[in-house]
Amino acid sequence: MRHSALVRITHWITAASFIALVYSGIAILLAHPRLYWGETGAIGTPSLIDLPLPMILTGQTGWGRYLHFLSAWVCILSGVAYMLGGMVACHFRNDLFRRGGPANYTVLQRVTYTAVVFVLFPLMIWTGFAMSPAVTSVFPVLVTALGGQQSARTIHFVVANLLVLFLVGHVVMVYVAGFSRHVGAMILGGNSVVRETQT
């Protein structure tokens, strides 16, 4: 199957912005590698998870936050373009929601891609906004539905880990299936699936 130009472009923009989000996210996390549940949490209060990471208080969150929010914008805009394009071209209906579409994904692939696109990324955006005091002043339900601002931060961290896990699995699968052919197909739009009938 051949990926459309929109899917290929948004794939790589999302990939680049996701790497930047993870990198800057780690910089932000290391200023306070403790996670809490509820509205509040700080040194001196019980934590939910004490991550075995160093606490780095040398001003790494300044650039971390600037980069995080710039990449978040790139990621969201690229994601919106992908979603709209995917709906118009029936990419989701044909390749993710049913068997035997042009891409011919396995059940595991279809479930994973659907979860990443429709559950994990939306959850990242939701929990991200739930940490913004300005956004929650307009939409308080964004944070109250999650049980509080610190709960949102904890979910943001957990879902980020799931997405990193997906990225690792995704790259391993691409490597196993033929790295240069699949990466080439995702860049140039060639055929990544070689079928018996085509050869």
Partner: protein, 253 residues
């Protein structure tokens, strides 16, 4: 035929580019006029900052209220970042329990004023139990007591040319708010915390409290408030000390 096509294509492309460029110029002008460009808009990170600030000011209410909590939700632990001002002037004021403290209010105002702590205590009292998050990730809920900044701004008579309110502190730190946050009903000049006086490490005698932004916007140890129409001539022109230290000016995220 093919030459005609290329000419037509060239003209169309040229016109589109021209329209795009002038459209962008007009958009930038309008954005600036309506206060949608943050002072730290420069550089690659400025693009993200401008998108965030402009979209929040455009799409969201300027009057939306930060969430308030019940007294039972007040945190037992309210950590502090940063030490007390080392300045001799501040140490002297502290030693005399701020009886000599003055808050200067000047700039684009009809009646430049100087208020004592007793004056500030005499103004209408506002209380809020709000959540304050540090950009590092931790947070607490506290009750703040003070006078709405809007009351003081009305008292001194703010000029229609005003675009920002700048705050100076005894520790040489400084911040600024746009008029949306300056006039916001939850923006306080706070002198009390959790039912008592504002503890010294929390910014005594008076600190700023900005409920819709991260903790670092709530400047401690206030000494002066200046109303301006431009931030260009203050510090490095980035709007507050935060961008000079690498942190964004707008912290509503």
């Amino acid at each position: 035929m093919s030459r005609l096509w290329t000419r037509r294509k060239a003209i169309t492309t040229g016109l589109t580019a021209l329209a795009g460029a002038s459209g962008l110029t007009v958009a930038a002008r309008l954005a600036d006029q309506y206060g949608l460009i943050p002072p730290d808009h420069g550089g690659i990170y400025g693009i993200g900052e401008t998108l965030t600030y402009a979209s929040q000011r455009l799409l969201m209410s300027r009057h939306s209220l930060a969430r308030e909590f019940s007294p039972s939700q007040i945190s037992k632990v309210a950590p502090v970042n940063g030490g007390m001002p080392a300045a001799f002037e501040y140490q002297q004021l502290l030693a005399r329990k701020f009886t000599d403290w003055r808050l200067e209010v000047d700039g684009l105002v009809a009646r430049p004023s100087s208020f004592s702590l007793a004056d500030v205590h005499g103004f209408p009292v506002s209380r809020q139990i709000t959540h304050q998050a540090c950009e590092e990730g931790w947070s607490f809920i506290a009750e703040w007591t003070g006078v709405p900044l809007s009351y003081v701004l009305n008292l001194v008579g703010v000029s229609t040319r005003a675009k920002y309110v700048v705050f100076f502190a005894f520790d040489d730190s400084w911040e600024s708010l746009d008029m949306a946050d300056a006039w916001h009903p939850q923006t306080l000049l706070a002198y009390g915390m959790n039912g008592g006086e504002l503890p010294t490490p929390h910014g005594a005698p008076v600190r700023l409290r900005v409920a819709r932004q991260l903790g670092y916007k709530s400047l401690k140890y206030l000494s002066q408030i200046t109303v301006v129409d431009s931030l260009k001539d203050i510090g490095r022109g980035l709007g507050s000390i935060s961008p000079e230290l690498g942190y964004s000016w707008y912290a509503g995220i």
